[in-house]
Symmetry: C2
Amino acid sequence: MHEEQRQRAGHLLHERGIDAALFASPASITWLTGFAPPVQTGPNPFAAAPPLLWWDGSHFILIVGDALAGLAAPFAEEPDGAVVAYLGYTIEAPIDSASHLRKALRQLWSHSPTSRPARVGVESWALPAAVGGLLAATAANNSEWVNIDNWLAPLRAIKTAEELAKLCENFRLTDIGHAAARRATVAGVREIDVWLAAKTAVEAAAGGRVPMGNDCVVGYRAENIGGWPIDHLLRPGDSLIVDLSTIQHGYWSDSCATYIAGEPDARQRQLHQVVSDALALGAGMLRPGVVAGEIDRRLRQYIADAGYPVYPHHTGHGVGVTGHEAPRLTPYSQEILLPGMVIMLEPGVYFPGETGVRLEDAFLITETGAERLTTHDKSWP
Amino acid sequence: MHEEQRQRAGHLLHERGIDAALFASPASITWLTGFAPPVQTGPNPFAAAPPLLWWDGSHFILIVGDALAGLAAPFAEEPDGAVVAYLGYTIEAPIDSASHLRKALRQLWSHSPTSRPARVGVESWALPAAVGGLLAATAANNSEWVNIDNWLAPLRAIKTAEELAKLCENFRLTDIGHAAARRATVAGVREIDVWLAAKTAVEAAAGGRVPMGNDCVVGYRAENIGGWPIDHLLRPGDSLIVDLSTIQHGYWSDSCATYIAGEPDARQRQLHQVVSDALALGAGMLRPGVVAGEIDRRLRQYIADAGYPVYPHHTGHGVGVTGHEAPRLTPYSQEILLPGMVIMLEPGVYFPGETGVRLEDAFLITETGAERLTTHDKSWP
């Protein structure tokens, strides 16, 4: 699993003269290993540190608290993979997972190839300072410490077939969530009720818990672009932006539709039409070689030419082990679309405090164009 | 908000000769400030670091990515509080929240009282190495670095009235979740369906999203003590352990009951009786001055004397900004119960692959005994 990712990363690191590396960002670790810890109630409080991944120049060693050992186990089956689990919670003695992790790391690094002077890469913004100190004192002793934060992010933009399957499983779930949200959007219910309809449909279909974002906001909110659902009541004719992501296998989906409690008025129909057209315009531009920023400019211009206020957010973004990643469809973006990228497009028009419409689809960039990965119904009756 | 916590912490730090401190663990930060970022889909990917809290010897400065600025804002109203927000996501330029945080921290520390030689405390297991490096290079230059990991944990055991109100709001939600789970436990549904009934009841009552743990496991699972609900089907007579936590305002609840799909058999009734009796025995022992480990021993002995296998987990634990914290009701625990502690008791009996029963209540230790905070119905018809 994820061998291709490790090969790409190893190639980059060798190319840049890195002899060994310590990864600590959840995105890097999931991308390199396929391992994804659950996120819904936060990190395991009995692990001294988040999962870490040590690359000794050829092998990748995943270091986790024992509560995650079962989930991490498949990685030990990889020819270039290994798992080290350290004691977290116990009833036998006061909890001291820091000591157990320290011991495990010392043991790991005691026979490290970097005992010789070497360049050791570290994800310094995600790595705990205590682990960094230990690394400096053992494996990286007499070594040069190189910050490799975000080095892997550009490599992640092109998805493998394995990643595409994980993404598509998530897009299937958000499609299911949207169908339920569409049915649940009626006058007299609250934002949270629509959200719960989507959440229930998603988890019932998945047969298990699924972390879910992003927005479920009624048009009359002062900040009606995004936000978590609360107890705002839907009145007849209110618009509701429903922007759904799911996370399965550490991969995200994304998607957005706008529903109406009852019947839209003429102005809302116009908004919906212009946003639909902008989305279609963007979809038609997706092909290898296009500059991401150019799509952004064209869609903004389209909305402005139609006489509407231009959305203050991006036109789109990549999606993978994070919900928003390269390539970014933003005014500054010089990124070139390439086959294998998975792109979200999400134009919108907002009148804060009144109403708003956003529509979002996912696309795989193919050799000749793009293929839509989301199938949720965004039309209005 | 949470002034008493900051006073307790300041007192401890001064007492131990600490002149300034950088907190990074989510538990410390919530406890000191009342600020609690959402957790359901993980940390904000556009913030360079998790929320940080700098104590300059008298004031507490909360440092967050701008996406959390609104949620953090109330802390700026505190007489000893301030908030620094740095740019995370923008469409104007490539995302570089690390530079923005670095700049914000340099500015903060440039007029720090610790420019003189000082002892600077750091939560080194939660602090990003990059931030630690910056601290060492600026505020902590010529200073001694002292690891203060877990220093606050013992202070957190005694709850303030403000914390008790937050905890009780959560216990009320888990009570609601249990009532729904009890109704939903019938033959023919799956673990996830019961879970969704509880989740829906909790979020509908809260009028918003609520992170929820912990277990929803049918008796015939090989590991039937705990685990997330999946698609295991409940057959007539199957037992289902439902262990629920919610997180509101950064505070956790906890609770457990065992339900039966249909009618329990005679053996299950015996299990339920012995676990009920063990819970009542423990509840009767709760009062100031009792050693936590003694309650643990008594309950284990009670289960063993009744001829059942003794549960492999703790007998109980404190609950607050984490789901499991001091005091711990474990064999080794020498902790003394004190008024203001909030304690979970959760004896159980398990026959892996067959059936199991666990029952759990929360108690506030009062001046003379204990008061039950959970009110969910754990009885069997």
